[in-house]
């Protein structure tokens, strides 16, 4: 990851829609007898509003072939052609009766206008908050019907139940359950940014699924952890049988639904381990020297350590570590009376993710003003990070005594971590 950041998309999709004879054809993928995946694979996306997606993503949409043919969600706007082509491989798009919008964010709703023109469905459904959000995105003039939490919709030969999931991760978010196939269309919940030709979890390696699912949780859902436990309870309380979870990003959980739900419960619990994350940037290697000495101290004190120099690590990498790290240490030089810009970037990002229960400290080298350490401590306090040691400042290049202090800081934090971690 370069300091300039990834370009948004190195492999944009073709512009042509399904009506153009120049368009290539895309096939739907069968999920069950009456459900098909008709989404799009985005092999080139590398930046998802600030979250580095090194493995691309998918925008999952599904077609239900009940008496009322129903489309669940659409895709990001440039992929409308792929979506319409996959629908057309199964059914005449003009025969689609209903469109369900589980979430108004534009990676799922982006193609809505084009889809509504091509399909001309009888009705479009969204949650009450979704109706407002879609209006404020697309100004469709009242063509969306709101559904309430727990409301059912008959598709003739099948039925849908809507389950609101407000603030997981937007106010409009909801999930849709298809009882006849025991299939939960969970939208962003349980999803991950992973482009693959494989559509099902059991076709992919476990370590890859867990890595990307954790990355997704850390970067998108972490602030809403208290709501996750309540959502899992709510779904359990519905007494519905869930065989598969069809997410809006990444593979469908055909076999591993229980496993991902269990991982979500663990991640949402905010339980912390004995890893200390040391995030820093440096102008002339002095703050870096401090960081390495702190790292040695942490290791000597028995903690696990991850040093994350910010010319190498991305903000979304730091977020992943904060899923279960116990300590966050932040180091910055002072540039023109402020913390270094890359540090400000990461602190803004992780502050928004609201990780709970961390201990931490600030450090940095400086020439004269030295305001960075105090500024970092202010932000850590806002984040409710327990400052387990005083901030450490060194003028210009740290000598042996200064590096000794850094090492001692590491040892001190490691000691506190041991006290916190359940055996």
């Amino acid at each position: 990851m370069s300091a300039a950041g990834p370009r948004e998309n190195d492999n944009p999709p073709e512009e042509a829609t399904v009506r153009s004879s120049a368009a290539s054809s895309f096939e739907a993928v069968k999920v069950t007898d009456q459900v098909y995946w008709v989404g799009a694979i985005d092999w080139g996306v590398r930046d998802f509003h600030g979250y580095a997606t090194d493995r691309g993503s998918t925008y999952n949409a599904y077609l239900i072939l009940a008496d009322k043919i129903t489309l669940i969600d659409t895709v990001k706007a440039p992929f409308a052609g792929e979506l319409l082509s996959r629908i057309a491989s199964v059914v005449d798009p003009a025969k689609v009766d209903y469109v369900i919008s589980n979430h108004a964010e534009m990676d799922h709703s982006g193609a809505l206008r084009e889809v509504l023109e091509a399909l001309n469905p009888e009705k479009v459904f969204a949650s009450a908050m979704g109706v407002k959000a879609l209006e404020e995105h697309f100004h469709l003039d009242g063509h969306v019907t709101g559904v309430a939490d727990g409301e059912t919709l008959s598709l003739g030969s099948a039925g849908l139940t809507f389950v609101e999931a407000r603030m997981l991760h937007w106010p409009d978010s909801m999930m849709t359950y298809l009882a006849e196939e025991r299939l939960l269309f969970s939208n962003d919940a349980f999803g991950m940014h992973l482009a693959s030709s494989e559509r099902f979890d059991d076709e992919l390696q476990q370590w890859l699924l867990e890595e990307e699912a954790a990355r997704y949780f850390a970067n998108i859902l972490l602030p809403f952890s208290p709501l996750i436990a309540k959502l899992l309870e709510k779904v359990a309380g519905l007494g519905i049988d869930i065989d598969m979870i069809a997410t809006s990003h990444g593979p469908i959980w055909r076999k591993g639904g229980d496993r991902i739900a269990s991982l979500y419960a663990t991640w949402a619990s905010g339980e912390r381990g004995d890893t200390a994350v040391v995030v820093f940037d440096t102008m002339w290697q002095s703050t870096a020297k401090m960081a390495r000495a702190i790292g040695e101290g942490l290791t000597a004190g028995g903690a696990r350590v991850k040093l994350m120099p910010l010319r190498a690590a991305h903000r979304s990498d730091v977020a992943v570590e904060l899923l279960d790290a116990g300590a966050l240490l932040v180091g910055s030089p002072t540039l023109n009376n402020n913390m270094f810009p890359t540090v400000a970037d990461v602190l803004t990002y992780v502050k928004g993710l609201r990780p709970r229960g961390l201990i931490g400290a600030a450090f940095g080298s400086y020439g004269w003003g030295g305001q960075a350490v105090g500024q970092i401590e202010d932000i850590l306090r806002d984040m409710k990070v327990d400052l387990a040691a005083d901030g450490l400042k060194t003028k210009y290049v740290p000598d042996a005594a200064a590096l000794r202090e850094c090492r001692d800081l590491g040892v001190k934090i490691a000691g506190k971590l041991k006290g916190m971690v359940k055996v």
Partner: protein, 53 residues
């Protein structure tokens, strides 16, 4: 009177101010806010609020 904060979006309900746009007059303690009231910012229900010390 105790202020309450939304766990989902950090909006703070201040009883002194109430939420008059949504039918909760100023001076209403959180306990007396109707059960079907939702966070005016993000829409989550009352059970997602916690007391601010």
């Amino acid at each position: 009177m105790t202020k309450y904060q939304c766990l989902a979006c950090t909006y703070v309900y201040d009883p002194a101010k109430g939420d008059p746009e949504n039918g909760v007059p100023p001076g209403t303690p959180f306990e007396e806010v109707p059960d079907d009231w939702v966070c005016p910012e993000c829409g989550v229900p009352k059970n997602m609020f916690e007391a601010l010390e």
